[in-house]
Amino acid sequence: MNANIGRRQFMNVSLVGGTGLFIGGLGRISQGAETAQAGSLLVGAATTSITPDKPVPLDGHRGLRISNKVESPVTATALALESCNGDKTIDAAIIVSCDIVAIRQDIMEQVRSKVKPRLPDFDVNKLFLCATHTHNAPVTLEGRYTLPESGVMKPSEYSEFMTTRVADVVVESWQKRRVGKVGWAQGQAVVAQNRRATYADGTAKMYGATNIPEFRGMEGYEDHNLDVLFFWDQQNHLIATAVNIPCPSQDAEGGLSIHADFWHPVRQMLHDRYGKDLLVLGLAGAGGDQTSRPQYGKTADDRMRKLRGLTRLEEVARRIVNGWEDAFEIARKDIHNDIILRHCVKQIELPHRKVTEAEVAEAHKEAEKYAKIPAQRWNYRWHQAVVERYEAQKAGTEGPYKMELHVVRLGDVVITTNEFELFTDYGVQMKARSPAVQTFVIQLAAGSYGYLPTERAVRGGGYSAVIQSNRIGPEGGQVLVEETLKQIKELFQ
């Protein structure tokens, strides 16, 4: 079977099978085929550099940082999946992992609009991008920082470059797809560390001190399991792997270099051991309250790294690769070709977190403080947005947030997305209640809408759980969980 087979049929199935919705003028949002029909799996994968060749503003921090070197390339890696029954397409998905802080506004639309004319028989709504969350990649949204007039690649220019590259890699992965095989397994890697310290007075603080008498413990859970998908070609060559870790890749955040954080050494180590053609998709799990940096026991951790002669990024990568290899040993015992692939794309409505009088008063005061200081553009926007939300809330024009949800069933596993820095508890709820053998939860996918904290986090406060950081609150978080599970359960009926 080759890439040309079944395109027309796929289009038909998608339109007939879907009771689709519309997202803001972008067209039909598709659901997977109604029947849980196994089909022959086609797999394609491709990767590209999205490293800019000029200095760029770096995303993720309050202060402006302009890159002055490239420490490691930032990349986009695409995985194209299609299931076929004879020459008929049953369903499809293209997943792109990008070394970037978030899939900001308009990025999905730009990529889809570039892909659509080049792949007329592929439903571009079945494509989604997700961010690894490296804080050393370019800004893609204008207006976040006050930038120098010259000598810097502007966000819009970078976005144009990046989305063109991503569209290319999407097309390439789709066109390269061939009959392939898939396996899945679970490993362990102690990477994610809860980054919210709690104190005797009930407050919490992101990256708060843990060596003071008031410290009482870390706020929440850490998930040290690793969900992994493996893809082989017909000749049993491992061609791609998708690794889901409930931790953002921002270990080495800060500084002025462009780099892909821990995913770079992960890729390097896997290339050294399994060949440079192996494509690695880093998928960030529910890790809004997580970091890979130890929050206590740092001196012991440092000593062990020194004894091993590794940098922090290399140590994180070593743990991930060890967990990956542990999973690989098992996955290769249970390889599938005829498999159910169903991809549901749905728009779900999430209630916004309500801004209180006290919160808007505080935000107003802070916004005024920063309004006329260009270097404080980020802080100004962070507070001013709360004021604007409050006004919309008061005027009754805010409405719910319409989030694009992808749920992909692949055999016994399911992949589900959200647009947030999602607190781990929500991921645990999804995994615990999902009927799938393994549930891949991918945050920062198909959009970006801030932190999504739990109720206990909101009670504790701190950067990631205050109103400025949360457009959606615990109430919306619970709706996200329920809607996600509803879709997962439908795919497993």
Binding site: V190, G217, G220, M304, I330, V428, E482
Partner: protein, 481 residues
Amino acid sequence: MKACRLQLLSFVCVLSLVVGVTPSSGSSNTLFIGSATIDITPSRPIALAGQFNTRISRSVENPITATAVAIETRDGDRMVDCAVLVSCDIVSFRPTVPAPLQEKLKKTLPGFDSSKVVLTATHTHTSAVTEEGAYKIPKEGVMQPAEYTEFLINKLAEVIGKAWGKRQPGGVSWVLGHAVVGLNRRAVYADGKAKMYGSTTTNSFRGIEGGEDHGLEMLFFWDKDNKPLAVCINVECPSQEVESRYTINADFWHDVRTQIHAEINNDLCVLGWPGAAGDISPHRMYRKAAEERMLKLRGLTYTQEIGRRITTAVKDVYELAKRDIHTEVPFAHQVKELALPVRMVTEKELAEAKTQAEALEKKGDTGVKGRWFQRTVDRYNKQNKEPTQTVDVHILRIGDIAIATNPFEMFHDYGVQMKSRSKALQTFVIQLTGPSCGYLATKRAIEGGGYSAVVQSNRIGHEGGQMLVEETLKTINELFQ
């Protein structure tokens, strides 16, 4: 009332006593090490401890053991300080064992300070009952608790004597590894309640109450030729995977030992130390289907899988440990008596305990659960006269690391506090050491409730927990000044 409590806290601090006074820990002295292990498996059926119901062992699935490492530092021929670290496959130490063992050691090891024995239970629930009256046990065909206890004390004295007698010039190294073993077992729900082993598949499930520490603190001991003698592995998890069986079983520590012997060194003594794990167990709270599939594909039981994870972590650091052996280190061992405030039984809790105890008695249930409630009634009656409970803790400095013990099933958060505020490079927090004092829950756990955080299970509450943290840290940090 607040003022009374403050006065009480000051009073408690004054009562903390150093039992084993040691010289300054800063100077390095020559290490002498000995190690030994002994089988403590009974030859007849016994009652098994750890559940509410009576279980009589039907077979021995694998041996239960006790392992000892003796450490002495010398300045020339003069002993500077010492410790004998003992890990034992038992659910916990009841008062029937530590004190009689100390008395016995005075006879079998004259001149040895028996207060320097650090006696830790691995918490296997498939090991012997060591107190009379805890369960209704058939008189015929079953080794009675008193008989097993005597047997155990003899065996412990023997293994301590052997380890002490075998000590020779040696070295120590400390390393940190990782293994995902202990899992937080308290599910929390939309109404704010928590439940130990609560369902995570219901709509009202909101998450897991606390964290887990998957760091493995390890101490390796070596002979003068750098051959490994023993490894102490501090895992934040009690060994109770097969806890409900009617067999004798050392739980996952058997698999750890078997695999370490097969893959590293057959003569290596392995001490299993449970970390701060009152809210932790090896049981899966979610991802059960994935774990089951992985086990089937590997062809392993879950205790073997835990053994595999821990052994992999030990192998991962073994060569690093071997490269950094210390033969002269600062060493100090303090044994402290702490008087901790008891958790006060409220009127409401008293009423509930009375009702439950009476209901169980009416049903003819005279088992552990009835006594669990009755003890709460008894505590209420004496809590104003006896507002504190004395517990022993051992604090050791060995080179750059600290060891801090406690007699509780201590919640993870307290261990994190100790580790994060300790001046030691690594801090080994070891629970269930010495006579057991029940669960030590955190404030948030008490607010959530559930078996391990209700008054029946907590003789000491979160105020006492915080005091334990502060006193432990005070001593550790003094040893590292």
